[in-house]
């Protein structure tokens, strides 16, 4: 401590105790806020699992049946069945259809924005994508319910317009923006020297994209697709309104399906709090949380792999 300054010099100016105390306090608050994200993730898992856990020991509930059976009769008086396989298949079939539509268009649009268009058009397109991503899911659901279902009934021989195809198209439109923006980032991350080397050899833009950029950016593009999958799996309102409401394994794209998310949204309001039905819905939430956790973790690992390179 240099509390006593040498004689002849004025004392070194110091901040008041309050100022220093305040600073320590504020830094503590900042640190606390920093770790809050961990607390919330753990909290989400804890509170959902706490509501779901009692059903695991319930006499009518079997875990094997929950994961592997297609029979979902949660409110039946004698014959209660809590099989979510049809819902899981519903979720994955809608997601798969959405990705089949969204991935080529999303990556194609990302390539166009990144490589083929001028700076003005690029700015405009990026703004349009941002606005497209901002459309609320309930509005997409409404579009599926009203516009898309009419289009489907007119051009196909489906009886009802709300089905797997409808949900797939709506989900594709919803996940395209995220695929485009992450995919465009991935292409932007490829060093310009790659492009210059390609052009110097006389390659056209197309040859450059196909032979150089796509292989170089494949991890980033994979991450873009994975994040699109994550969004499609977790989407609730749009699929609730657009896929129809049949708990069944779909046999074609014109069949109605129900997804894990839509099932929770549709039935949670009717299930009495604390009943096995209510707890099974929370368990479905745990399942959903786990699926998206794995998908997001995979996307993050892929992205991290790029950064280390």
């Amino acid at each position: 401590m240099t509390a006593n300054p040498p004689p002849g010099q004025p004392p070194r100016p110091r901040r008041s105790v309050q100022a220093r105390l305040g600073e320590t306090l504020l830094e503590a608050v900042i640190r606390l806020a920093g770790v809050s994200a961990i607390l919330f993730v753990l909290g989400i898992f804890f509170f959902i699992f706490r509501e779901a856990a009692p059903v695991l020991t319930h006499e009518k509930f079997k875990l094997g049946q929950f994961l592997g059976s297609i029979e979902w009769y949660p409110t039946s008086a004698q014959n209660v069945r809590y099989g979510t396989l049809a819902l899981t298949v519903g979720t994955f079939s809608v997601t798969a259809l959405a990705m089949v539509l969204a991935v080529p268009f999303g990556l194609g649009a990302a390539v166009f924005i990144s490589e083929f268009c001028g700076p003005k058009l690029k700015e405009t397109l990026k703004i349009v994508i941002e606005l497209l991503a901002a459309i609320p899911s309930v509005v997409w659901g409404f579009i599926g319910l009203t516009v898309m279902s009419r289009v489907i009934v007119r051009y196909t021989d489906a009886d009802v317009g709300v089905n797997l195809l409808n949900g797939g198209i709506i989900l594709a439109l919803m996940s395209v923006p995220i695929i485009v923006s992450i995919g465009e980032d991935a292409l932007k991350a490829v060093p310009d020297s790659y492009r210059e080397a390609g052009l110097a050899l006389g390659a056209t833009r197309w040859q450059l994209v196909w032979r150089v950029l796509l292989p170089a950016a494949k991890n980033g593009l994979l991450a873009a697709v994975l994040l699109g999958v994550g969004r499609a799996v977790g989407e609730t309102m749009a699929v609730l309104m657009a896929t129809g409401h049949a708990v069944q394994i779909p046999h074609g794209i014109l069949d109605s399906v129900r997804t894990l998310t839509a099932n929770i949204a549709a039935e949670l309001g009717e299930a009495p709090a604390g009943s096995p039905h209510y707890r099974v819905l929370f368990l479905t939430g745990v399942l959903l949380f786990s699926i998206t956790f794995v998908v997001n973790l995979a996307a993050d690992l892929v992205v991290r792999g790029i950064k280390q390179k």
């Binding site: 920093g34 994200a37 961990i38 509501e51 349009v128 949204a265």
Partner: protein, 305 residues
């Protein structure tokens, strides 16, 4: 830069069949990619036009200010509109300070340790949690465990946790864009970390932070699933044009929820009403986003470094 491509250069010389083929592939590829980009935009324009056309008979100030009448088949959307304002306001009042502080910690204080990596992973994961899972969490934690009941408080806290990771991410990006030299200069004149943040880092990144927060306004306004089971109701009586319609411990109506109920649960609604609700919700969301984009472009042009 079409003038400098090898294709253009090649034209000065004789064009061999190989070059011709190359050019043709290039034109086809460009056209296909252009169509893919256009395929994203055309449905948007077509759908918005269609919605506005169908909504036209109900799109007026009276529809916005009036309350729902005759079992929601007539009247307006005022209670839902105010409810959405409340939910968005309270959720951001919680999420914005918390998110900004968390981002300050992650960008200015945290070193690259295993613990920081776990925090980052938690933020990424939180951003990927499906909205219906947030709803379950809100129901279990706020409505039952914390005994807030079905209320605006529960619903806006649920929304706050949902928007938090995105606010953290956008704020971090804004903070990271402040050059390191600015901080170093400030430390070298004897300022502490916190003084540097207050005097240098925040003033230079506030525009980016604000843009990120504004974007979450529209996200919170549009979400339905998280509020469906935590505080939003089918119908609530408030007086026409009343801006202070709800208390924190009351349930409320919300625009997104109202659109869902009007289009799926209420029979014999006047045809244009759900369309008008959708257009007003979509319009407000896009307006807020457009504001954020304009703000960002304006501030980027003013930037001095």
């Amino acid at each position: 830069m079409p003038a400098t491509t090898p294709v253009a250069d090649a034209r000065r010389f004789t064009r061999t069949p190989f070059v011709l083929r190359k050019e043709r592939t290039e034109r086809v590829a460009r056209a296909i990619f252009f169509c893919m980009a256009a395929a994203m935009i055309l449905p948007l324009v077509a759908i918005v036009t269609y919605l506005v056309a169908r909504a036209a008979p109900s799109l007026n100030l009276e529809f916005l200010l009036d309350i729902p009448r005759h079992g929601m088949t007539e009247g307006g959307i005022w209670p839902a509109f105010v409810g959405t304002l409340y939910l968005v306001g309270f959720s951001l009042a919680v999420a914005a300070p918390l998110g900004v502080l968390a981002a300050i910690y992650l960008n200015e204080y945290a070193r690259d340790t295993w613990f920081t990596r776990i925090v980052n992973l938690a933020v990424i994961n939180l951003a990927g949690v499906p909205s219906i899972v947030h709803a379950l969490f809100g129901l279990g934690a706020f409505v039952y465990a914390a005994r807030f009941g079905y209320s605006i408080l529960s619903a806006s806290l649920t929304l706050a946790i949902m928007t938090l990771p995105v606010i953290i991410a956008s704020t971090r990006e804004a903070l990271a864009s402040v050059p390191m030299a600015f901080r170093e200069a400030c430390w070298n004149v004897g300022a502490t970390r916190l003084q540097t943040i207050r005097a240098i880092v925040l003033p230079n990144s506030i525009s980016g932070i604000l843009t990120g927060v504004i974007l979450q306004v529209s996200r919170a306004a549009g979400e339905t699933a998280p509020i469906m089971f935590t505080g939003a109701v089918f119908y609530k009586a408030v007086s026409r044009g009343d801006l202070f319609a709800y208390g924190l411990d009351e349930q409320c109506m919300a625009l997104s929820m109202h659109l869902y109920t009007l289009s799926t649960q209420v029979p014999n609604v006047r045809e244009s009403m759900p369309y008008a609700t959708a257009v007003i919700l979509l319009g407000s969301v896009l307006l807020v986003n457009a504001t954020a984009i304009v703000l960002r472009v304006w501030l980027r042009n003013r930037k001095r470094w």
